[in-house]
Every structure is written in C-alpha cells, then in structure tokens.
Assembly symmetry: C2
Homo-oligomer: 496 residues x 2
Amino acid sequence: MTSQPQQGKKDSKAQQYGVTPQSQDFNDWYNEVVRKADLADHSPVAGAMVVRPYGTALWERIQRDLDDRFKATGHHNLLFPTLIPMDFILREADHVEGFAPELFTVNKIGTEELSEPYVMRPTSETIIGHMWSGWLNSYRDLPFLHNQWGSVFRAELRTKPFLRTSEFYWQEGHTAHASEAEARAEVRQQLDEYHAFCRDVLALPVVRGEKTASERFAGAENTYSIEGMMRDGKALQSGTSHYLGQNFSRAFGVKFQNSEQREEFAYTTSWGLSSRIIGAIIMTHGDDAGLILPPRIAPVQAVIVPVGRKEDFGAMAAEARKLAAELQAQGIRVKVDDREGLTNGFKYNDWELKGVPVRIELGPRDLEAGQLVIKSRTAADKETLGRAEAVAGLPARLEAIQAWLYDRARDFLLSNTVTADSYEEFKAAIEAGKWVRAFHCGDPESERAIKEDTKATARNVPLDGSEFFAEPEEGVCVHTGRPAAYGKRVLFGRQY
Amino acid sequence: MTSQPQQGKKDSKAQQYGVTPQSQDFNDWYNEVVRKADLADHSPVAGAMVVRPYGTALWERIQRDLDDRFKATGHHNLLFPTLIPMDFILREADHVEGFAPELFTVNKIGTEELSEPYVMRPTSETIIGHMWSGWLNSYRDLPFLHNQWGSVFRAELRTKPFLRTSEFYWQEGHTAHASEAEARAEVRQQLDEYHAFCRDVLALPVVRGEKTASERFAGAENTYSIEGMMRDGKALQSGTSHYLGQNFSRAFGVKFQNSEQREEFAYTTSWGLSSRIIGAIIMTHGDDAGLILPPRIAPVQAVIVPVGRKEDFGAMAAEARKLAAELQAQGIRVKVDDREGLTNGFKYNDWELKGVPVRIELGPRDLEAGQLVIKSRTAADKETLGRAEAVAGLPARLEAIQAWLYDRARDFLLSNTVTADSYEEFKAAIEAGKWVRAFHCGDPESERAIKEDTKATARNVPLDGSEFFAEPEEGVCVHTGRPAAYGKRVLFGRQY
C-alpha cells in the first residue's frame, strides 16, 4: 500500500452531469454521486479521502445535531492525543488481536528512531483508560461521560469514500460508571439516541440489535448496533454501542473506592458513529438523478434559480435574493444560484444531483403573475403556486419530504426482508439481495460457514423495543438444525 | 523522546486549591492554573496534552465564533488527510528545511514496511496544493477559499500545555486566487479578522504587523502576525497570515487558464490560529486567584451558588435553578453549583480559579429580602442588589467586565512597551521584561546576534492600520548603526 496519487478527473462541463443508473451498476452510481455532488475525492494517501465542501457541510450538520444530544444527556467533549503508545494497544488481549493488522505505526520523530513506537489511534479506549486511572478516586467522581470528535486510522486495502477509508471521521463516546447496571443503561441510551437521530433527522429506518459474539468489538462484552438497508439490499452498520465490562478498566487500572470503601474497577462503555453515515444517507435515499438529502440535515434546503432572458437576469437575481431573505427569516437554509453563463437545465440537474429538497424557479412572468414554480426533489412534476402560499407552505413541504423519505425507506426495508426456515430459502433470499430473518444456533463456526457460502453475516439480533423484527420466537437453526439461541430470529444480510 | 506516562496527581480536596502567585513564579502559576482549572493534563504521548472538558468547551466556543466569521466571508471547510506523502514535503525547498526536524514519520502499516513513508501533517499546504492541481482549470474556478479544523504535529522537546505541544489544535485556511492583488487582500483580511476576534471576543489587544525575513513561515513570501503581551511581559504570537506567492502552486502544479487564455500559476495564501490562543487568554487576563475568562467567550458566564444551612439547601438549590432559568432566558450561560458536601468557600474558590465572570450567591435571607449577592470576578468586593435589578443588570455587568479586561490588558501592553535608541537602553528594557520599539537595519545576522545577547526577537513591524505602534519613522539601527529598514520602528520582545 504505497502512495498513489489519484484525484478527480478534470471533467468538461458537458461530461460532468448524468450518473450511471443504480440498476445498471450500483457501485458506479455511488462513486459518481460522491464525486460529482462535490462530497469527496480520492487523495494521494493510501486509502484516505478528501471530504470536499458539500460533504464537510453535511458532516458538520450531523456533528452539531449529535453533539447537542450528547451534551443534553450530560456528556462532555475532550481531546485526547492522536498517537497511542504501542504497548497500550498490547495490553487488552482481544483488542490487539482485532486491531494489529490495521495499525499505522510511527517510529521516527525528526531524525530520532523510536525504541517504543506509537500507533495512530484506531480507537481510543486504551489511552482514555490510562488517563481515567489518574483522574478517578472515588465513586463520587463517577460517572465520567466523555466524548471525542476526530478521526481514526485503520488500514483498508479496498476503499470506498465514506464507507471504508483508512482514515475516517467519527465521534467516540467513552464512559465509566460505578455499577454494571448504570453502564448498561448508558450503552442502551446511546444506542437509542443513534436510532432516534437516524429516524428523526436522517429519515433512516434502522434496526437496533445486539451483535453476535463473532461480530463484537475487540474487547467488548456486548456490542449493539443499528443497521440500515441500502437500496441495493445490503446492510450498513450505522452506529455501535459497546458494554466493555471491566476489561479495559482492569487493563489500565481504572479503579475507585466504592460507597462501601472497597476498591473496585469501573464499568465502562464506548459508542461511536462515523462519517460512513453519509454513505447510508446516499445509498438509502438517492436515485438515478443523484443524491436526495432529507430536509432536516440538508445544508441547503431550497435553491432559488432566477430564470429569464439575459437582459432580465440581473433583475431576477435581485428578486431571488429578496425571496431568499424571506425564506431565511422562516429559518430555511436557502441558496440563490445566480451563476452566469450556465443554462437553466444545467443548474436544475446540478441541484438535483446535489439532492437539494426543493427548487424554486423565478422568472419575469412568475414575478408579474405573483407566483413561483416549485419542484420538490421527490416529486415528478413542477407546481406553480401563488407566491405567498408557496412561501408560507415551504416548511410544511420540507417536512412532508422528510416524512416521505422515511416512509419509502421503511417500506423498502420491510418489503426486502424475508423470513427463511430452511437453508435453501435462506440462500435464495440472500442471493436475491434480501435481508433474511432466520433462527440461528449461535455457533460462530456456523456463522463463518454461512458467510463463506453466501457472503451474508449476522447483522444483529433485534432488541426488545426495536420497531422492526423484535418478536420473541423459538425454533431451530436454519443452518445446523440445532436449537436456536437468542429467543428471536437473527437478521442476516450482506453488508458494506 | 520516548513514552513517559505522566498524569495529573491525585490531589486531596484540601491541596487542590490555591495557586502559586504570578509574581513568585509565573511558569508555576500557569501550569497550576491549567491543571487545576480542568483545562488540560499531560499525556503519555511525548509532548502531547489531553484537553479536558473545560478547556475543550473553551476551544469549541473559539472555533464556533471564528468559523462563523470565515463562513461569512465565503470560506468553506474541507477535511484533508492527516498523513502527507514524505516526498510532498520535500518539494518546496524552504518548507522542508523548516519542518524536517519536527516531523513524525509513519513507515509501517499493519505488518508492511513502507518504501515511501508518510509524515503526520505539520501543516497542509503541500497536500492541499496537490488536490487543487486536480480541481483547478480556469480563472472562473477561483478563488478557492478553503479552511480546515484539525490538529497538526510538530515535535517539541520542551512542552507546555496550549503553548508548545507536539500535537496542537488549530484551523488552517488555504486560499488560491487569480491575481497577486486578490491574494494579498485575502492575507490582510484574515489577519484583520484575527485581530477583530481577539479584540472583540477575547478582550486581547494584539499588534498586527509583518514578520521580518528571519521569522517568516517556511515557504512564504510574507508572513504577518498578531502579537499579544502576556502578564510577564513576554510576547505570544497569536495568529499568522501568509502570502505564499506562487511558491507552492509552482511546486504542485496549481495552474489555471487566465482570462487572456494563458496558463498561470495561482497565487496562494494560508493563515492559522491555534489552541495556543487559550494560553494567551490565560496569561493576559489571569491573576493570583486563577483564570479570568472574558464573558463573551466564557463557557459559563455566571455561576449561582445556593447557600444556607443543610436543611435549607434543597430549597435554595431549587430557587437557584429558577433563577438560572430566568438568566438563561436572557441568553446568559449559567450554571448552578448544587454539589453537596462542599463548603461555600471551596465553591467560591473553585469558580474563581475557573475564571467564571460573575458569581451569584443565594441564601434564605436573600430570598426573603428579595435580593442577590453578586461578585464580579474582576471586583474586590461583593455587592447586594435587589433581585430584579441584579437580573436585569447582568448583561450590562458582563459587558462591563469584558471592556474592563480589554482596557486593563491594553494599558498593560502600552505601559510595558518602551522606545529605545541605543543598544544599552534596548538591552536594559528587555532585561526588565518590556517590549522595545527600536529601529533595525533588517539584517538577519543582526537579529540573530540580538537574540543571542538578549533572548529577544523581532516580533513584527506594525502595519499601517494597527492601533499600536504603527507611526512611520526613520532612524538608524539600534544594533548596527546602519540605516533602518521598514520606515518604522520594529517591535522586539522575548517570546513564548
């Protein structure tokens, strides 16, 4: 994996628009949307991407919303070093096994070769555990409710922007508690927070569940995830929350005097959501015209395109800016596309590709007639409405688009998930790009065999409280015929 | 420089308060304030710090304010990789000379030794130049107005939290323009933005000026800085803005077709402000009781301490929360200190140490009398005011504290800057901890000799428009007797 300079091709304007249809090649469609919608580009650093202005604006909105949620439940942000002493990683046995093949190692500073190398953090449990051991005395100091925004480093050979890159952006929450029950409640609370954020802000239906043993985080006692279904039927793990028990607190001496004056190791958790959620937004909502952004997260909710002959353009652009000010006063994020020298059609395609929820066209005849031409990104046709009505109705229109996107994604998820009671049914459904609900014995060897056969993995075991697939049920394993574990069907699917 | 585990000592509550007076040991004072006010801690990674919740909250407020300013002038954020191919750094001759001794080198990923190593970015001109070369075609694509928030890595042997750490947090703006004039205007605009932010938000008087040749950024044609005076008389470079000419665009092929259809290299700039600004806040405003935070940046502007006997405490805490809600409704950032088992005196000291601008005490007698006891962090005594008057007057009180802090810092800067016309005067003033305004010939050798003699360096040559020290004047060099350069006195001082 060496440095391979790669970068966005210099497209001519004529080539720049239009993307491969999803049905023709979903992978090409994805890569083209990412690049042409100005979300991200390749970089000359093995496996790392550059997040461009529109992608960064989207990530910043995600950050802001999540950060407000974390703070509302008492969490604090901190900044820990990017580097971690190599020997820290070695201290938790499962952790090192999980991460060793992916580590970036620093062994020289200036001209000095380091006898004790550092690694670029793949995740920060170890160094945070070390710091906590110095900050913690008594149960009165607990809980520690910490979070960090930053990037982490895990070598990837086959990369794809947002989904799988060697450096990616995320938040990692780390908390320490005086009891197991409190720590477990935190793990669930944060999983539920991710779920609510996905549902309410990103219009993403996700299944909350527990990972099987073979899919657990390296060093966790329990790992929980939210899983979303992309439009090609694959699953995308969109956030995880881990109960770490006392594994890391033992490895790093994170102990406290409990209320009975006895020394005890803290009960810790970690939870993370990363920039791959942008991949989930793209692949859940997008269509053959490009991206579709849910209005609540869209950096631009409405774009106004002044139209008309060249000699009217200046006046129309001025009118568009007036209209923009009215919409901004309603709290709408709006942009005027007053670029000159581009056709209207080019601009319409451009904003559709970028997934802006609503486009408003304003020309001389509209101005005269006191009307606006409105096109929702999710509708087939334009509408012509009285200006006052259009302006007053815009917030409701945005909310309707938000709801429509969620409903469509939920229906897609439900209609592409099937129940299988034989391995033949199971394989056929996976081959057809479905998710499968099936009983499983819980044996990691069987999961491995299923993966080899079908490329499908156990996504999770839906939790009580999940609105999807959480019914308790007993049966026999679809693969081994042994009694099923978990008291529920397990969700299987191919994954990103 | 190997891994040396170090961390905050576990102080008992009794030891935790009180800091060394500034006059006794300014360095100890600083380190104790940083640690005891919960701003930052040492880390087990050579030269890197951990920024704790209060320090991170302060940095986030700084980020938010600056980010809004950058966006208001049309800048976009992007995210570039943390790693840079080593050969990029080698491509700009001055750049590599400046940064080579400080680089963190990655030469292993997983188990694979890299034939072409990466460095952890010391700054991102090189990789951004490389990406721009792929994005730029025509003058119509310009300007590129980019910014990145993140951390950078420059090895430091002697570290001090916020001021000098091997990893530090910053923003780096990078812009590319179609003409030198436009690029130079950007350089000045961003310097002026830093100045306005320091003056208006952080209550920091700073001198805008140009660096002498020997203090320029590695690869720049001109470097401009803002310089603040700390309470020990030393200067702190608090932000820089660089005109890079075509140096980086030539090295990375950042070229475009200009409006006359000819190919031209872009004119680029970069500008940065880092977490060391937190050091400037601490050392400009702090006193022997600890930190003093300017109200406009303080994460907590007012703390309410419910007081009274144990049996009244619950009721008083409830009243404090009511009062807090009233203040919040006025837009004030307020916290109720309802911790139990701590003395009032302990709490007062704690919040003074943390520099909260206003403390409000609320006890049963105050409640009965409809009054509040108020203590401004910058005043010697408490005041007792009618509740309504106190609440209504709080915004104005905070603004008055803000203005008082700026005025005090400005008076300190002015009264500790002297004019010297002989080298004897010069040396005596520097030895006395002053800044010196003196004529200088511009010879880097002379600057080096002055530094060796006095530990003072040329801070900058104040710019026209700087409210401090910008008068044009002619004279002879205080060190060599040769004709002075610059047409102005140069500002000299010892520096952080």
